[in-house]
Assembly symmetry: D2
């Protein structure tokens, strides 16, 4: 065991750039603060190498918290090649794209009063019911543009939606031709709207219509990198797709608020992923435990400075 | 604000039954220990009333940790009417049902050595690769019994699998005719096996083929109760299905290791669910924070005693 | 790496004893559920061996949650030889011993209203201000029995208090002649009361008056075992006292709600303690992550059954 | 309930200053990311008002992780008027001040090998045993400068130590005449060294010698603000001292990795503190949950920019 690199005490000064802050945190290098600086390093490498295919997993209620803007910018700037998301994030992305808003509220509230005021709560974010009325109008109209009898994959359905929007994750992904996978699309307001539409129309969404598409991207990647915000289905779906290939990910960064000792995949370390071969034996990986509304913007703003 | 019910100090004695332990913990009644006793109370009511339709959400790596036995027993004894699960739990259920095992390991290990030894790790549980070879044989054989050209829903696919097994969750559910929903079936080894099979066969899994089935159960329920082990897709799918009806759940218990302040649904309180109408204004609900490998067996063994 | 002991699925039945439940959980043996059964095993060994000196660390607001009764019973039944506690737990122990109560409340409350109602909140436990008025009367009276000019150690001060009480931790410890250490006694209501008394009286509490006493017990122990509820000062004080001796603890069990990756001692693993020599290289140790209001009564009730 | 301030999606660009990042995070404003921006706001106000007496609580293993540099700079720049710390942080501060170092290691290690290599581990930080040998020499020498027969308070003992050091927290505090309180000084390596010294010398550390000093500062404060890194004794000691006065804190910021539902003070919300009157009814308070090695440097660097 070696004692070679001393922890340097952190000293700050007015007017620091984010990247400067990361550099002094890196010299300290301990606990999740240290992990965060390694995430900046690995993400910077992943974003800087042209030969890396970049998978991005998006879970947790990130769009309601304003993190969707970072994701759509990353797509815009070619830092995401494949996006896997929960249905909820895409639902909230559409809600913003059609001009509705999430609002800053408080978790110290009376949920029954909120119910009476027709406000839905996501921790300290409020979303008025009327957004869902406008969402329904938009979605039913969008679905009506798909010819009856169509069999469609989930990513094609999402691209169809995105092509009718001008801002946000789905819009940018559609414009940049980046596939958005969402294995559990039914488990979202998008899914409920589709179910409503299907009561009177015949469209089939092929649950397995996307698997070859993502697995082919895994096979085709000269080098593969993954960035996970949260765990859930997106994390597992990305990792298991790589499992079909002879190699694993070369780079992997995860931001999670969970903990490993509960056994669930969302909190599992990326070392555990090595035993499965999801991640290469010598892959550069790091897990940053904490709230992604802090760690995600901090990491990405530092990476952008290193790799403008 | 009232100060009426004093906290009673807990006194234990040798030979206590689980239900006795819960009764003394109930008299203390604070923090998650108190919440756990309220979970026993609510679950007991839910299990005791004949008119309650009981939804059960299963997330987290529970079957590898031995919790699947409790779930299949609950189905056997008519305490679960609708099961929503992650694909991983069902994969591991099949693995055990075909005679393979998970093994007790340690998280203090070298994952690269595990990789070389062909052992996959789930925190401190080990699963040899060879299980997946036997799993593949079984699954490919099972799928081959489905006629080419079939369009099938996920729950029917799972019932088909369960009907060829004799023990475990899927087997018991199939025998008892209890629907098992798994919106993100693709996101699992079952999904990967199905993708393999589909390379050379034509079966379509209709992603939305199950939604009416679960929503109809929500509409039909005279009274609805939900028990959530973990969050993820199962929790959201159950709650959103109820959202389509004029009422919400009357009873809801969740066991989760997550925390509410990160905004994600898995850690969200059931009070938050009141604002959405997923849970009734006057519903009896409780969240027990902690590892479900402790809280789940403890709660159920106490409930069984109260309600044998 | 070995795959020898299969995880057995848990099956429950009505009327189980706590110890039976632990036995089926032990056969599953994963995550914190498995850790808890190992805690039962280690604690049972520690309690069963006559030659083990048993140190007990008590942190977290355990007495307000009713856990104090378990601690005083353990002292009564000779399962604790040295107790190290936070000042808060001893304050609340005195409050109950003089006939006041903590009350079951709710965390979903308005703290400003509570303030107006003169109720102090500890998560979902309420404590009326008037308890502190009776506490003040009692404490000032107790202190007045100490002759002016006395120089006293903290443990002697606590024994003096305990000798004037008939129930609870301090009373039982005083009666059984078990030392209670509380290094940060100033940091509690007991401390504030003492400060008040000292405004007009001359008693000196020697901050270091107890150190030889606890370190001597470490030296004298043929075999040493530690049980930690929570972390904080009690955990560190017990571990550092052993550091002065050539050996470390042979047995150690900790129940904590913290997490290791934040670097703090409260969440640190007992493996980390091995590097310091606080715990022996081949010591039997286990950490159970979770709320001690669940894990503590569960473990102790199972241990009592094994070791009545 | 109002829906007035929309969540703005976060957009980042290369070259952002920390304060710019905070401003875009503030416009999103949700979960702990939003809480962090409110912490910047409140801390900025606290640091900007000349009439605020600023209390600072330091818990958790912060100095080994390089966070001590920020604390000593805050003292240097008059942003801390009263410091309350754990003994461990001060021990590690002395170790660095006498020229020893902490080293960047890994938590994925063999603690028995570390033991053999004479390296002590604090999560992923390594500290060689030899540091403690040099620490012992320094401490014994420092103590020898105190005349036998002295009765000393803990803060005077710490000021005495600091006056013989040239860098770090204790040195800066001594030079700036800022009191450092450490109620549980015995519970640290400083304490163990003092115990060793006292075997052959007669110095009495008066456990209660400091209480009037901190409570007087509470009484004298025209306006009081508190900044807590971690919980533990420092948090409680600061809050309880204010409890003696008719008012509570006007400003309070806490950074903690704990959670409220376990009942312990370290994870307790500052709203709970309102019920006790520790914090004023209309106080500006915020809790940021997460690892302070991330949140502390981020907040302070943003505050310095606003208030250079």
């Amino acid at each position: 065991m070696d004692c070679e690199i001393p922890v340097k005490q952190v000293h700050l000064h007015p007017g620091m750039k984010v990247e400067e802050l990361i550099r002094v945190m890196e010299k300290a290098g301990a606990y999740n603060g240290g992990a965060l600086t390694r995430a900046v390093e690995i993400t910077g490498t992943m974003f800087g190498r042209e030969d890396v295919t970049r998978f991005f997993g998006l879970a947790g209620a990130m769009v309601p918290a304003g993190m969707g803007g970072i994701v759509s910018d990353l797509i815009e700037n070619n830092y995401i090649d494949i996006l896997v998301s929960t249905g909820a994030n895409l639902t909230h992305d559409i809600i913003e794209a059609i001009g509705c808003h999430h609002f800053r509220g408080t978790e110290k509230c009376n949920d029954i009063e909120l119910r009476h005021d027709e406000i839905n709560r996501i921790y300290d974010v409020y979303l008025p019911n009327e957004s869902f009325i406008r969402f329904e109008e938009f979605m039913q109209d969008i679905f009506s543009k798909i010819p009856d009898g169509t069999v469609i994959s989930i990513s094609d359905l999402l691209a169809h939606i995105g092509s009718h929007l001008s801002t946000g994750i789905l819009a940018t992904a559609a414009r940049k031709n980046i596939p958005v996978f969402c294995p559990a699309i039914q488990d979202s307001m998008i899914g409920l709207q589709f179910w409503l539409y299907r009561q009177t129309h015949k469209i089939t969404v092929d649950a397995f219509g996307d698997m070859s598409r993502i697995i082919d991207r895994c096979f085709a990647a000269p080098v593969a990198g993954a960035f996970f915000v949260g765990g859930g289905v997106p994390k597992n779906y990305i990792l298991q797709s790589m499992l079909m290939t002879p190699r694993g990910f070369t780079y992997a960064v995860q931001l999670t608020g969970d903990r490993p000792d509960l056994g669930g995949l969302s909190g599992a370390t990326l070392d555990e992923a090595r035993s499965w071969g999801k991640v290469d034996e010598d892959a550069k990986t790091v897990t940053v435990y904490g709230d992604a509304t802090i760690t995600f913007p901090l990491i990405i703003s530092a990476v952008l400075e290193k790799k403008p």
